[in-house]
Amino acid sequence: MSAAVVSVRTKSASRVRVRRRVLLFGAIGLVLLFVLLTLSLTTGEIPLPAGTALRALVGLGDSGDVLVVQQFRAPRAVAAIVAGAGLGAAGCVLQRLFRNPLASPDVMGITGGASLGAVALIAAGASQALIPLGALGGGLLAALLLGVFAWGSGLAVTRLVLTGLAVQAGLAAAVNLMIVRFPAELAGSALQWTAGSVYGRTWTEVWGAGGAMVLALGAALLMHRRLAVLDLGDDSAGALGLRTSAARLQLLVLAVVLASLAAALAGPVTFVALAVPHVVRFLTGPPTVASLVLAGVTGAVLLLASDLVVQHLLPIEGLPVGAVTATLGAPWLLVLMLRQSSPVQRGRG
């Protein structure tokens, strides 16, 4: 009897501790997001006080302020938030699916595919509203290539990552080729796009890709159980009634959709999807459904913050946000690879 009471007490204690940490992390993330959002609405060529900017956001106050905030700053900020959330969630799903801390859409070539699709549409002179579809198509194409080249090995992780790098390089080359062949004015906008930027996003794009992103994020939450069951290995997962190949394919497609929609909004931003799951794991422990939510929030914070750095802290005009994340990303990737190939980390397959 008393043993049962003790076990209940220890249970609640350790669980409350984890839950408190998750809530604290989530709350800090949301506050940061709000602060960054306010910053991005208030700063720029025309600095505005926070109150004025927030009122302008809902259409109150000086019509010039309303125009600046509603039409220029808000869509850019929202695009960064939505794309960041998608990248964070995509990285989370992929790293868990492949049980590999290096798995992420940029490393696996999905981002490269999305760029190719988008640039191809820009080259064809398609309307901006169609660019997300191009990115999605390109991302799926890259995933298909990845599958064709890596499927034979039963999706073994090393082969997948290496194949991903090859696919990424090939697609990047194709994008460069297209840019060189473009008329100058289109080449400029394509080049800007391929570096990863939320500059000049309009509400049309944000609503289209953002709405789809919300649906995809919802699907990711719903499919989290499958991810957890897959963690048990194929035999146990199969015995629990999960069709493992189908589930893996669904989750892979979902991650591709998340990453491609993010690419449609912000271009091929690197590093965010790779780093965010590690940050979340470092702060809250092994992956749960809460980590997926936190990864979304962290990705949004990271991308919005990077965009603010690009806009205001760097002396170079018009630098794309992808440049900041890539600069952070390269050394991070190196550290991860070194850690992964060290014998200590090797133990877990």
């Binding site: 049962a4 249970k11 669980r15 159980r225 048990l232 194929d234 146990s236 199969g238 629990l240 999960l242």
Partner: protein, 272 residues
């Protein structure tokens, strides 16, 4: 023939990995409501048979039937509601707690949008209680001892709440105390909860003690099947395991006990 429910049977079952036939032409009936032990030398196809019986491996030809219905025509989920499986070396997710692991056993009972229900929690609590892992529920599984970890995995299979339970060498890597612990737990599941159990075992004496029915495989073919007392004799052990032995009644239970002859091990030591 009419039979107790939860009877697994195979007809002309061929199981292959690539071109290699592991189990060939197997006609088998595993009685419902009983404990069946599958025994045989290493690499005789015991584990492969278990994977075939649980739909994890599609037969190259032949069928596996559960109460007369082809399990490959059932949905994965429908089968998972009737049959649980503990693989030989299950993959423990990193840092997962005992309760989080056991909760995954409820997967086939949940729909996409269904929240965690009181019935789910009850099944998990009962599984933890029955396997004696309730006090470990918040411990990470990868930090438990081998015996505790095995019980946590059995708890997962119990939370799945199936009438049929397949266990692949549940006692491997455990010391004697924990082997008996697991086997007693299995016996209790059968006796108290009426579950049908099919398990792959290495130890013939343990198989004879704990099983009502015994299936002996050699090179992927059926060597013998029946009640341990009818099946297990010196001739069978010689022909299947290539070991000269005497089979005597177990002084504790009266079930057959295999006692290798002195010196008979020298030749078979290499394969043991």
């Amino acid at each position: 023939m009419p039979a107790t429910p939860n009877q697994l049977s195979t007809e002309g079952l061929d199981l292959r990995y690539g071109d290699r036939t592991i189990v060939g032409g197997l006609d088998l009936t595993l009685p419902g409501g009983a404990v069946t032990a599958i025994v045989g030398p290493n690499a005789c196809g015991k584990s492969t048979l278990l994977r075939g019986l649980s739909r994890l491996l599609a037969p190259a030809s032949g069928t596996v039937m559960l109460d007369g219905a082809d399990i490959h025509r059932m949905s994965a989920r429908a089968l998972a509601l009737r049959m649980g499986l503990l693989p030989q070396q299950p993959v423990t997710p990193e840092a997962v707690t005992v309760e989080a692991l056991v909760r995954l056993g409820r997967y086939p009972h949940q729909r996409l949008l269904s929240p965690w229900s009181a019935a789910d929690q009850k099944a998990v609590d009962e599984a933890l209680e029955r396997t004696g892992t309730a006090s470990l529920r918040d411990q990470p599984v990868d930090q438990l001892s081998g015996g505790q970890r095995q019980r946590a995995w059995i708890a997962l299979a119990l939370a799945q709440d199936t009438e049929l339970l397949l266990l692949d060498e549940p006692t491997t890597f455990l010391d004697l105390r924990h082997q008996l612990d697991v086997l007693d737990l299995v016996a209790a599941l059968h006796a108290e909860a009426g579950r049908t159990v099919v398990m792959v075992l290495h130890d013939l004496g343990q198989a004879a003690r704990y099983a009502d029915h015994m299936v002996v495989l050699k090179d992927g073919r059926l060597a013998a099947a029946g009640a341990p007392a009818d099946v297990l004799d010196a001739e069978l052990v010689k022909s299947v395991f290539d070991v000269d032995c005497r089979v005597i009644p177990d002084p504790e239970t009266g079930t057959p006990l295999v006692v290798p002859k002195a010196g008979a091990v020298r030749r078979s030591a290499a394969t043991a």
